[in-house]
């Protein structure tokens, strides 16, 4: 499963809405760790979508996959 960490819930939902329009199944969950604090995790549940494909799509709407965990 591809997991992408995103800072704000608006960006996370923007990403989810965009991927779903492209037929890629995903969900948004709350995430937390001691270094990055509170954030959101976009979990791509679609086994057919690779991380590279997802990140390329998200990059086109200004959502970065580079937020470190």
């Amino acid at each position: 499963m591809t997991i992408i960490y995103i800072k704000s819930f608006t960006q996370a939902h923007k990403a989810m809405s965009f991927l779903q329009k492209h037929g890629i199944r995903c969900i948004v969950e709350r995430s937390f760790d001691n270094r990055a604090g509170c954030g959101f995790a976009l979990k791509v549940t679609d086994q057919n979508a690779s991380r590279a494909e997802v990140c390329a799509l998200l990059g086109s709407i200004g959502v970065s996959c580079d937020l470190s965990r």
Partner: protein
């Protein structure tokens, strides 16, 4: 009751808005973007869907579409956010207090200054007047899309082009234009501030600040955002940067329903309908002896006006006139409409005016009934 005070807030709201309100209070009762449980996530998703609708209406990205409590709060965020030490602001001479008060507060706290330009019916002249007011240290031009007193529209596209040429931020007060006038970021504004409860038919307690992200804004309110919680400084990303504390969750979800209503009817058709009512009102009122119109909307000047008409009944003070009409079942607002500059401009600063402002729900029959009542009052 015949409600004609829609420039203050639209009433009634579409039936779908009432239904959504009842639904939202129970179905979306968790805090969005805070907790991780399903209830909170569902609420966050509903908030996002509404944000997306609002963004689309103004040609913006969802993350640059910030929910506020009203247009005034949005204008405060924008004006005080762009203010810097010694900065200069340019405004028109018909701004609402929602703009002019934050401008003067920003000028006072930053040791800056402000210049007002005269907005007139001749759009080229308005732009020329605005350009003459700009200085090398001008931070922003703050301008209403349309006067809330006399409905006079300002040439938004041309003023935006001027601001881009001069490299200054253009902040549009769209309180009276959102939902009817064509105001989007594509027209060149950097920041659009709007009320959710007027032309967008949402509930009171909702507003929007739409930005193109070109100008970094300082914050005037800081706090919890549910994001970047490890940091004691405010997030630098939007909308979180400007949405500290719990938002009016049910309100903004319902606002999306109002935007749906506007999109379904289309802003162009709503504007045409409301201007038709204004034209009918002006045409009838100017024939009644004793009625004084301060802006006369006719077939030939429709494009210059938003659907707002100011008038008085003889020498009767506007608030008394509005009270007389209220007793006959016609609800309109008398006084200065929180816009003393516009009233100074038309010479009514001492008595104010009565304001006629229809919505998509008003009818020609209602206008005719008002005219008959005005005739009776004016004859006395």
């Amino acid at each position: 009751m015949i409600y004609l005070d829609n420039a203050a807030t639209t009433f009634p709201k579409p039936q779908a808005v009432y239904r959504k309100w009842a639904h939202a209070m129970s179905a979306y009762g968790a805090n969005p973007g805070r907790s991780g449980h399903e209830f909170s996530q569902n609420t966050a998703e509903a908030v996002y869907q509404s944000r997306e609708k609002c963004a689309e209406l103004f040609g913006a990205e969802p993350e640059n579409t910030i929910f506020t409590l009203n247009c005034t709060q949005a204008l405060n965020f924008a004006i005080k956010g762009v203010a810097r030490k010694g900065c200069h602001f340019v405004t028109s001479d018909m701004e609402h207090n929602a703009s002019i008060r934050p401008v003067y507060a920003a000028v006072k706290s930053h040791g800056g200054s402000c210049t007002m330009f005269e907005a007139v019916e001749d759009e080229e002249q308005t732009v020329y007047n605005a350009e003459r007011a700009i200085r090398p240290n001008t931070a922003a031009l703050v301008c209403t899309a349309a006067s809330n007193v006399i409905g006079l529209r300002t040439p938004i596209r041309e003023l935006a082009a001027l601001c881009r040429r001069k490299k200054i931020c253009f902040i549009v007060d769209a309180a009276q234009g959102a939902g009817t006038l064509p105001i989007t970021l594509k027209d060149g504004a950097n920041i659009i501030c709007a009320a959710g409860h007027k032309g967008l038919y949402g509930p009171m307690g909702t507003g929007l600040m739409i930005t193109d992200g070109a100008y970094p804004l300082n914050t005037i309110i800081e706090g919890g955002t549910g994001s970047a919680s490890e940091s004691i400084t405010q997030p630098d990303f939007t909308p979180d940067r400007f949405e500290s504390g719990t938002i009016n969750t049910a309100g903004v979800i319902v606002l999306g329903e109002g935007v749906d209503f506007v999109n379904k009817l289309t802003p162009e058709k709503i504007l045409a309908h409301e201007l038709t009512l204004c034209r009918r009102f002006c045409s009838g009122a100017e024939k009644i002896r004793g009625i004084r119109l301060y802006n006369n909307i006719t077939q030939t000047n429709l494009e210059l006006y938003a659907p707002v008409v100011s008038f008085n009944i003889g020498d009767i003070p506007s608030t008394e006139g509005a009270a007389m009409l209220s007793s006959k079942g016609f609800y309109m607002r008398g006084g200065l409409h929180c816009a003393p500059l516009a009233h100074k401009k038309i010479g009514t600063i001492n008595g104010g005016t009565i304001r006629f402002s229809p919505s998509a729900f008003n009818t020609e029959r209602e206008v005719d009934m008002l005219l008959k009542t005005l005739e009776k009052i004016a004859l006395k």
